[in-house]
């Protein structure tokens, strides 16, 4: 039998099949981590979404903690903030935007005061002096206290109360007393009643590492002072200073100034490494259909009550993009930022030495392309994973194990089970029917009926080709095998006189479309032209149509299938996620081989759309749905009045292919097929059958082991179980079979297992 060379692990060479720039620009399409619009619009970068979430949950303590991160005096800020966030709130587009500032005010009023700061804080070594009073110095003192600088404020006021009153004269009594409490709890040293002027400034400047002043003080000391507004800094005088008007300017100014203090304290240029500051844009995608409460909660003059604030916060739809995660079971399974996952999968291919931890996710995507349709920005994980697999193959780092079974299956389809013949009576043909390897394995009777029908009703001769289109090696990233398969099939097509290929499967159609000069139609197109054969029958119940991922972006095929279903009289149920948005059944991309768990989740995802029987036009979908216990039929089964019945196991699939080939050879081409009989009797317990299907062990493998045993007599006998156990190395695996000898030439198989490691007798 054909074999595939296991990779070596010593030689390393590298061919990059996608550039870093390409992958970066692809990954950048995903906006998962973009800030919500309100947050982007806030110059102070309040995590609005999180704050609103906490408020909606009634957790005002947490909401206040989030708010205090950007506002050392939250009542002052919420009073004077101009709330640029509110204009950017996406809910504005369908109704009234969230009243963010009013919620903040309620959070500031009703949230618990945070615990005493400063006691357990380790203070920094570099000290800071702040001269003057007013909002800017108050906020700056608050910001610097958070950063744990020892701060001394020199001001003319007599005490904290007067200092706060000077800064925020607009506060009502309740708010004032709360903020006063907050100010007194802060670890700030005050020199009240200071006479602020050049004398004090010269006297004190040597005692501190960084000096700051209110705008008024700075200007009185240095009338020529030029403030760089991005830094809140006067370079000539090495003085951090205020500039601007109003609460928002003061708050944002204090933020920038605090960063400048940080840089100066470390004796660094305040211009560098400041990160992103201020408001920015966001390209986050938001599904606005989630916004249902469109009117604001009315605000009484005194502001929201706690309950009202909760109600208003609940209207926030928590902007975030998870469109692809909602529809793709693979992305949902790994549940992380899809762009980042794509990046990690790419980076995985760049590892030369060490663990490739992303191999499994890379091989778990079904390459179905649904994400590229669902994602508002067209992020295409299929492309990332397909390229990554090819990269891994080209560097000889791709493990063979996850895909070997499928690849061997393909070699079998295009080897022992392959058949290519012109219609009897023809040398060359106008058409060749290419049903696809899955249809042959799962519904051989349907394939036969379809072929006979095409021969009868089409002019010019219809050849038959039983084989695999090469999608398997494409999915596995084995581009060299894909090329070989392409050449092989092209040679066979040439023998038939390069006929028009009638594809029975949309994935084959897609794969074969990469062949130069091949004319392709779907059997659904032909049936649309020549009409249904006799005996075609719909299901009596309404059915859900599952679009194959091989037909994504192929509106023509999707429409032709619907027309066919209509002709059959099927009553189609409309389901969400159909057409181009259809999810993959779990077979695509070889997910079913590389990650059974994810594949099963994909199947469930398909089936959750309806309780009705499923009609599909890809045999792999039909098979996976039936295996999951759903009534499932391929549309050709209805067309030809056949029923492929219960899904076959992996050995029956091979058997079906061989049997169909031999039957047709005998009946149509009068050729005597190769003898398939074993010279001994071999039976299996039910448990052995189940075990073999689960462990991907074929009857052919078991036969190989027993053939070997009959030749060499090598086996062991386990007196505990009473079983004989023989083994044989076949290809890249060692197969073990536990059996009993029922009679001279009759064996009953009880268990089977395999491993890929080779075991040899040890030295010494």
């Amino acid at each position: 039998m054909s074999q595939i060379q296991e990779r070596g692990s010593t030689h390393v060479y590298k061919v990059n099949r996608i550039s870093k720039e390409e992958i970066d620009s692809m990954v950048a399409l995903c906006v998962y981590e973009q800030p919500p619009f309100c947050n982007a619009a806030c110059p102070l970068k309040l995590d609005t979404r999180a704050m609103l979430k906490a408020a909606a949950a009634g957790d005002f303590k947490k909401a206040l903690q989030l708010y205090e991160k950007i506002a050392p005096f939250p009542l002052i800020l919420s009073h004077g903030c101009e709330a640029p966030c509110e204009q950017k709130c996406r809910v504005c587009e369908v109704g009234e935007g969230i009243a963010i500032r009013d919620i903040e005010a309620a959070v500031a009023r009703f949230g618990e005061l945070s615990r005493l700061g400063g006691i357990f804080k380790t203070t920094k070594k570099q000290s800071v002096a702040i001269f003057g009073s007013g909002l800017f110095t108050l906020f700056l003192a608050g910001e610097l206290e958070k950063k744990a600088y020892p701060i001394t404020v020199f001001c003319a006021e007599a005490d904290e109360e007067a200092y706060l009153r000077a800064a925020a004269p607009f506060l009502d009594e309740e708010a004032f007393s709360l903020e006063l409490k907050r100010l007194r709890r802060k670890d700030i040293r005050f020199c009240f009643g200071s006479e602020i002027g050049p004398a004090l400034y010269s006297e004190k400047r040597g005692d501190f590492n960084v000096l700051c002043a209110s705008e008024a003080v700075a200007r009185s000391l240095f009338p020529q002072a030029v403030c760089i507004p991005e830094l809140m800094y006067c370079e000539e005088e090495d003085l951090v200073m205020g500039c601007g008007e109003g609460v928002m300017d003061a708050a944002f100014g204090a933020k920038k100034a605090a960063l400048t203090v940080d840089r100066l304290a470390q004796k660094l240029d305040p211009r560098n490494t400041r990160g992103s500051e201020g408001a920015c844009d966001s390209s986050l995608y938001t599904d606005l259909s989630e916004a249902t409460a469109l009117r604001r909660v009315e605000r009484p003059a005194e502001g929201y009550s706690k309950e009202q604030a909760i109600q208003e916060a609940k209207r926030c739809i928590q902007c975030h993009c998870e469109e692809c995660l909602k529809s793709c079971a693979f992305l949902k399974h790994y549940k992380k930022h899809p762009g980042l996952l794509g990046k990690e999968i790419y980076n995985n291919t760049q590892i030369i030495m060490g663990d490739h931890q992303l191999n499994k996710p890379m091989n778990s995507c079904s390459l179905c392309g649904q994400c590229s349709v669902i994602c508002p920005n067209g992020f295409d994980m299929a492309h990332v994973c397909a390229v990554a697999r090819r990269n891994m193959v080209s560097t000889d780092k791709m493990p063979l194990a996850p895909h070997e079974f499928a690849l061997l299956d393909m070699l079998f389809s295009n080897g022992d089970a392959f058949l290519c013949r012109p219609q009897p009576g023809y040398e060359t043909c106008k058409y060749v029917f290419f049903p696809g390897c899955q249809a042959i394995a799962i519904a051989p009777e349907t394939v036969k009926a379809a072929y006979l029908d095409l021969c009868e009703r089409l002019d010019g001769g219809v050849a038959l080709m039983l084989g695999c289109c090469g999608a398997i090696c494409d999915w596995a990233g084995r581009y060299e095998m894909e090329e070989q398969t392409r050449e092989f099939l092209d040679r066979e097509f040439a023998k038939l006189g390069d006929p028009i290929v009638i594809a029975g499967c949309p994935s084959c159609r897609k794969e074969l479309s990469s062949h130069d000069g091949l004319e392709l139609v779907g059997i659904w197109d032909i049936l649309g032209q020549i009409g249904l054969p006799e005996g075609a029958a719909k299901l009596s119940r309404p059915v859900a149509l599952h679009d194959s991922c091989g037909a994504r972006g192929d509106a023509h095929t999707q429409a032709a299938i619907r027309a066919l279903a209509e002709q059959l009289g099927c009553q189609l149920i409309d389901t969400p996620y159909s057409g181009d948005r259809s999810p993959c059944c779990g077979y695509g991309g070889l997910t079913a081989y590389a990650n059974r768990e994810v594949a099963a989740e994909m199947t469930d995802k398909c089936l959750e759309r309806s309780d009705a029987p499923y009609i599909s036009y890809c045999m792999a979908c039909r098979d996976r749905f039936a295996r999951q216990g759903r009534e499932s039929r391929h549309i050709l089964e209805l067309v030809y009045g056949t029923d492929a019945g219960a899904p076959p196991d992996i050995s029956q699939k091979r058997w079906n292919r061989l049997t169909l080939k031999n039957e047709l050879l005998r009946d149509l081409w009068r050729e005597e097929p190769k003898e398939m009989n074993l010279p001994y009797q071999l039976d299996y317990t039910d448990e052995a059958r189940r075990m073999m299907d689960d462990r991907m062990i074929l009857t052919d493998d078991v036969i190989g082991v027993l053939d070997g045993f009959r030749e060499s007599g090598e086996a062991i006998f386990d007196s505990d179980s009473g079983l004989m156990i023989a083994r044989r190395r076949i290809g890249n695996a060692t197969f073990w079979v536990a059996f009993t000898r029922e009679a001279e030439d009759h064996y009953l198989v009880h268990r089977a297992y395999s491993h890929r490691m080779n075991v040899v007798k040890g030295q010494g």
Partner: protein
């Protein structure tokens, strides 16, 4: 000489017989090889013909997990 660590050891305890040679299997040295890596182990081995027996639990347990780890190297 480097000391070879033995990664796994299993004793047949007289319950296993070589069908061909008709003698009990004994604990003996063997080696697992995979993707250019080798692991010394002690497994039931026929003292005459050298048949090395890999029990099912070992194949599906330890061996399988080491295979996965090496495949992703």
């Amino acid at each position: 000489m480097a000391i070879e660590r033995t990664y796994y050891t299993i004793d047949p305890q007289g319950k296993l017989q070589c069908v061909k040679c008709g003698v009990p299997l004994e604990k003996g040295k063997a080696k697992f090889m995979y993707l250019a890596n080798g692991f010394p182990v002690e497994l039931p081995v026929c003292p005459i013909c050298g048949f090395v027996y890999v029990p099912e639990e070992l194949a599906l347990g330890k061996v399988a997990s080491v295979e996965r780890a090496l495949e992703d190297k």
